[in-house]
């Protein structure tokens, strides 16, 4: 699996809206992803994934025949069989429970939950796909914001800057990336992360992905 460049990442795409499917195909091929199959419903999705064993699955949540959460259920089912299968689900709206169902599948690695709106910011979207294909976790910033807004949370004890850092951690960014975004030193970010994990009673860990998972697991609880 070639992670550094998109070339060679074999993708299966599931999206029932023809216009959006064509648009996504355009984006993926432009950035060098190799789309091995593009399908319009969840059953086909499961079939082509079994056939092609792709490096990444990108799927809509709401698909035929029921137009409910077929795509998500297919994703969760496939990850039960193959827990390291990278899956990015696209949702039309923020839904914590959808994100939670997905993050609970497999060991929580190689999953992404993105709002369809993110697709419009082409570069960010592609970057998120690469992160997930490389085994990372990406949760839409809107979902993170909503989780942080929840009442009666010990999260209320976090400072504004710590919340900011937590959001970025949850989105899957490394300490250096966060430092660059917030115009602070990496050491300062490390200190914030340490404070956050301490305040939330989470064991500190080096690995970015595990930090995300730890935070999300806490948020879901």
């Amino acid at each position: 699996m070639n992670v550094g460049a998109a070339g060679g990442i074999r993708v299966v795409l599931a999206e029932d809206g023809i216009l959006l499917r064509e648009g996504l195909l355009g984006v993926l091929s432009r950035f060098g992803f190799d789309v091995v199959a593009a399908v319009g419903d969840a059953e086909e999705l499961v079939a082509v994934v079994a056939e092609h064993t792709p490096d990444l699955v990108v799927t809509d949540i709401r698909m035929p025949p029921g137009f409910q959460d077929e795509g998500l259920r297919a994703a969760v089912a496939m990850r039960r069989v193959r827990p390291d299968l990278p899956v990015v689900v696209l949702s039309q709206y923020v839904q914590d429970e959808y994100a939670a169902a997905l993050l609970d599948s497999g060991d929580g690695r190689s999953v992404g939950y993105l709002l369809k709106d993110r697709v419009a910011d082409v570069r960010d979207f592609v970057a998120a796909l690469r992160t997930v294909a490389a085994g990372g976790t990406v949760v839409d910033p809107d979902v993170i914001r909503r989780l942080l807004q929840r009442p009666n949370d010990p999260l209320a004890t976090l400072s504004g800057r710590e919340r900011e850092v937590l959001s970025l951690v949850a989105e899957g960014h490394s300490n250096s990336a966060i430092a660059a975004r917030l115009y602070v030193t990496e050491a300062a970010v490390g200190k914030h992360v340490g404070n956050i994990l301490a305040k939330l009673n989470l064991p500190p860990a080096e690995d970015t992905n595990r930090r995300v998972l730890a935070v999300l697991a806490y948020l879901r609880a």
């Binding site: 648009g23 409910q68 839904q95």
Partner: protein, 449 residues
């Protein structure tokens, strides 16, 4: 305005004689006369052979053949043509009942076809018609007898009261039963009795009016609640149609406009990648891209407002948590164990109620937090929204709560509000597990278990 009272209840009022009651009764009884007179005449003709037969039976004889034929003919006339007169008569009487009884009296008749033959067939097959015929018989036979008796009593009382004047004129002697009055002095007790009896007669008059009105209500009204049930059903149908329409709009927007807009935005994003930063097209293209993205948010909120997809997909608990998450206030959602999914209509109404209540809390209560409780009590779905605000919510003011109460009532539920000044406010919505309306055609596949 006091609530409309039944005539009989009005009689029990201590101030009955000073109220409008006696006057209502008077108008009602006086207007009965021109209606009862022809009915009574017709009834008398029809009853005559039966009276003849009865008198013969009392004498120990069987009715003659002629009398028997007449009896049969009168019975056939009564049952054959009676309904044709009884139905319009009942219409008049239902309208006239308003003179004494302010409570409306809906007809028990089902809507009938315009075609005369089918109209007659429908009417003859209805119980309501035969109850109306019974009322016609009551009006023709019982009413004249009662009115006559009462008239005699009134005459007697007038005679009592006036007896001293006549006695003093010395022109005649008066005999009341075993008493004979020869002078004004002897007549005095009768006069006193007459005066004392006057209010009793007043009450008796009221009683006659109320009795007649009661019979009319019992025989001419919609005892089985057909009309009301029809109203309830049509209201539920309207709500159903409204819900269906909402879902259609939501789907059209979601499957059509939202998809196209997402695709458009994606293409604009792609185009931006190809247009150099310093190109004259870069600025407008960037603006178009940003505006398209903002429009996506607007459209998503719009669709959310129509009917949140979570409600259809994941049910009430998830949708309520989502609702709480969107609220600017901290809102805790508590879902009791073992609440299965109710029907779509009930689910939609419960969600709407919680959403409306929460919007009210944010807008008016000044609360710092709110709680939503979802539970099932027997066959009732309960949604409670509490806040720690200033209270004083009043359904009489503002259309929010009234509209909500209407909406809840339309599916057979009820809305309870406790909101003392100073707070806190508790709004409780109780909905029947099954809605009274039609079963909606399944718009989507059944949700997850």
């Amino acid at each position: 305005m006091p609530t409309p009272e039944a005539p009989l209840r009005a009689l029990l009022n201590r101030r009955y004689l000073a109220s409008a009651g006696p006057w209502r009764a008077l108008v009602y009884v006086l207007t009965t006369l021109p209606i009862a007179a022809p009915v009574s005449a017709a009834m008398a003709v029809l009853v005559l052979p039966w009276l003849a037969a009865l008198s013969r039976l009392v004498d120990g004889d069987l009715p003659t053949r002629n009398v028997f034929v007449l009896m049969t003919v009168s019975l056939l006339l009564f049952t054959g043509f009676g309904p044709l007169a009884a139905v319009p008569l009942a219409m008049i009487e239902r309208g006239r009942l308003a003179l004494i009884d302010p409570r409306p009296l809906p007809s028990a008749h089902a809507p009938a076809p315009q075609d005369p033959v089918r109209w007659v067939r429908t009417r003859y097959a209805e119980t309501a018609t035969w109850r109306e015929l019974l009322y016609a018989a009551f009006l023709g036979l019982v009413v004249p007898a009662v009115y006559g008796t009462y008239a005699l009593l009134v005459l007697l009382d007038v005679a009592f009261v006036l007896s001293p004047f006549f006695a003093s004129s010395g022109t005649a002697t008066w005999t009341f039963g075993v008493f004979t009055v020869r002078s004004a002095t002897e007549a005095l007790p009768f006069a006193v009795l007459g005066v004392l009896l006057a209010p009793v007669l007043g009450y008796l008059f009221g009683l006659i009016g109320a009795g007649q009105a009661g019979v009319a209500r019992a025989l001419l009204g919609d005892r089985t609640g057909v009309a009301l049930r029809e109203v309830a059903r049509s209201r539920a149908r309207l709500v159903d149609a409204f819900d269906l329409e909402r879902r259609r709009i939501e789907r059209d927007l979601h499957d059509g406009a939202q998809h196209r807009l997402t695709s458009l935005t994606l293409h604009l994003g792609m185009a931006r990648l190809d247009v150099p930063e310093d190109s004259p097209a870069a600025g407008p293209l960037g603006q178009a891209h940003e505006q398209a993205k903002e429009l996506m948010v607007v459209l998503r909120d719009l669709i959310y407002g129509i009917r949140p997809q979570e409600l259809t997909d994941l049910g009430l608990p998830a949708a309520l948590r989502e609702l709480a998450g969107r609220s600017p206030l901290p809102v805790a959602v508590t879902v009791a164990d073992g609440v299965p999914r109710p029907s779509e209509q009930i689910e939609g109404t419960a969600y709407l109620a919680a959403s409306e209540a929460l919007a009210n809390v944010v807008k008016h209560s000044g609360a710092t937090r709110a709680d939503i409780l979802l539970a099932r009590a027997g066959d009732v779905l309960v949604v409670e929204v509490r806040d720690d605000g200033g209270g004083g919510a009043d359904p009489e003011r503002g259309t929010g709560l009234t509209g909500l109460a209407d909406r809840v009532a339309a599916v057979g539920g009820r809305l309870l509000v406790s909101s003392p000044a100073g707070g806190p406010t508790l709004l409780r919505v109780e909905l029947p597990w099954r809605s009274p309306g039609l079963v909606l055609p399944a718009a989507t596949a059944p949700g997850r278990a």
